[in-house]
């Protein structure tokens, strides 16, 4: 996919099919931070230095060889419009940090956007692999492989005792964050979510609501990730998070089953209403859409509705964000116009399904 295609579609590898445990785990992401040995970290870097880092990484990407060298495409952030940059953030391909002072910042993507390398973010390189469902091991092996290819050309800031050196000392060591995006409507509905989240954070993992503030989650989406990066191997970190995820998946499933067993009419009603509103409403705020998408996804996972593929819901979640709507219409929209456009897009996509 070229960058122009990337910013024109909500589709990405991670929004697609083929994910394990996809009734609860929407996506898996591994991200490592790397810095070049001979340069200060990006926030202490002159414009000239940042340009040199950009050149060094460009060369390293070209030297990966084979299919990788063919696929990996670099885009300097300044080549994109503000809306296009925001779309990359909405697709989780770059972080919001890459939008600030974007002059010497860039992103490298492969064809299916499963690999993304941010350049001159908080660290010189942030290399991530993003896959649908629960696939942290696969994501790590892909990150590890690309990292090795880049390191043939780049001298990383690495210390014998502390590992990979990062701008923020909370990332030092492996420089790795493993994270999972989870859909937990069952635990929210049975009021067990706060207990579960508290337990997870006691175990040393960070939890946050996605798109929401703090633990308030929009659309019942949560992200868990590791806090510790020093003193554990990458495999240990992943094994830890996979085992915690296993517990969460089990409790979410049993919460859903209990709900469906004991309050069947309520759940079916909820799903049916979401389906009706999404198919027929003419004005739809982003918050309402996220709530209804969650109900719809629950209905699909409980087989109450069987005509909707899960990946379509993920695609809609991204396609209905403000930046995408702007891109489709091609001009500024008032928030009311946006809500109208959003409802229209949802109706269209659902009638195609």
């Amino acid at each position: 996919m070229s960058i122009k295609e990337t910013v024109s579609t909500a589709l990405s590898r991670w929004t697609g099919e083929g994910g394990a445990e996809s009734d609860v785990v929407i996506s898996s992401r591994i991200r490592v931070a790397r810095n070049l040995a001979d340069f200060p970290f990006p926030h202490r870097l002159s414009e000239e230095g940042a340009e040199q880092v950009l050149q060094a990484v460009t060369l390293a990407v070209k030297s990966t060889g084979g299919q990788d060298a063919k696929e990996l495409q670099m885009t300097v952030m300044s080549e994109l419009s503000q809306v296009e940059r925001q779309i990359l953030v909405d697709k989780h391909l770059v972080s919001p940090d890459l939008l600030e002072n974007y002059k010497q910042k860039a992103v490298v993507l492969n064809n299916d956007e499963s690999i993304s390398i941010m350049i001159n973010e908080e660290d010189h390189l942030r290399l991530q692999c993003f896959l649908p469902g629960l696939h942290l091991h696969e994501a790590w092996s892909e990150v590890n492989r690309i990292d090795d290819l880049l390191e043939r050309t780049l001298d990383y800031a690495f210390d014998e005792r502390l590992g990979y050196l990062t701008a923020c000392p909370t990332n030092v060591g492996t420089g790795m964050r493993a994270s999972l995006m989870l859909h937990l409507p069952g635990l929210v509905l049975v009021n067990q979510i706060s207990g579960v989240l508290a337990t997870i954070s006691k175990l040393g993992f960070a939890v946050r609501g996605l798109y929401g503030e703090g633990t308030e989650a929009t659309g019942n989406l949560f992200q868990i990730s590791n806090q510790v990066t020093l003193g554990q191997t990458e495999e240990d970190i992943i094994a830890g998070i996979v085992s915690v995820a296993g517990q969460i998946i089990a409790s979410e499933r049993s919460a859903r089953q209990a709900l469906y067993r004991e309050r069947r009419e309520h759940i079916e009603d909820r799903v049916g209403r979401a389906w009706g509103l999404l198919k027929h409403a003419r004005i739809m705020t982003s918050e309402e859409a996220m709530r209804l998408f969650s109900d719809l996804r629950l209905g699909k996972d409980l087989n109450i509705i069987d005509t909707i593929p899960g990946h379509l819901i993920t695609e809609l979640m991204i396609a209905t964000r403000p930046a995408f709507l702007l891109k489709i219409v091609g001009k500024e929209l008032s928030s009311f116009e946006r809500d109208v456009k959003r409802a229209e897009l949802i109706r269209l996509k659902l009638s195609e399904a």
């Binding site: 200060p40 800031a157 923020c168 003193g231």
Partner: protein, 182 residues
């Protein structure tokens, strides 16, 4: 206001912490604040790590008698980052900063990571020596275990492996920014 810890001296340090998304302010006297900082480092997971880290340094350096002025502190010889700047941003400036501020960072690592030694991936091309060092580190642990189980034959084998690896290193001192006990 009296110090809420010793309930004797007046509280001159007001320390705000966020625990489980609840904001708490502690009012302490200077000696208690020092003690509190030494034992807890004010670190609670699940919050904005940058701000927290900055807060940590800021607090450590702040004048306890109410003045808000933070001293510049030490300066990194390579990138000129000062401790004050680090306290404000929570970001180090370059690899050398880790060496320059090693003493201050050591407790931070223990607090955040519970550890101060990397055991994960080592760069393929430039990390050859580190791989050997890590291998020796692992073998030494196995050696201790073997001895404690009184498996002396195995222990002798492991000891020989360690010797071979140490020869490969050529007995040079390891160069690291953080020579803390591991």
């Amino acid at each position: 206001m009296e110090c809420e810890r010793c309930k004797q001296r007046p509280a001159t340090v007001h320390l705000t912490q966020i625990i489980n998304s609840e904001k708490k302010t502690m009012h302490l006297c200077e000696p208690c604040a020092r003690e509190f900082q030494a034992e807890s480092f004010g670190f609670v997971p699940q919050m904005n790590l940058h701000n927290l880290l900055a807060g940590l340094f800021h607090y450590q350096m702040a004048n306890p008698f109410g003045q808000q002025e933070i001293p510049e502190g030490e300066k990194c010889p390579d990138c000129a980052l000062t401790e004050r700047k680090f306290a404000q941003q929570g970001l180090l400036g370059c690899g050398e900063c880790y060496r320059k501020f090693a003493n201050r960072l050591e407790p931070v690592f223990r607090r955040i990571h519970g550890n101060n030694r990397h055991t994960g991936k080592v760069p393929e091309r430039t990390g050859g020596r580190v791989k050997i060092v890590n291998e020796i580190h692992k073998l030494k642990n196995s050696l201790r275990e073997a001895v404690s189980r009184e498996e002396f034959e195995l222990a002798a084998e492991i000891r020989d492996q360690i010797k071979d690896l140490e020869k490969k290193l050529g007995g040079e001192e390891l160069n690291s920014v953080n020579q803390g006990n591991s």
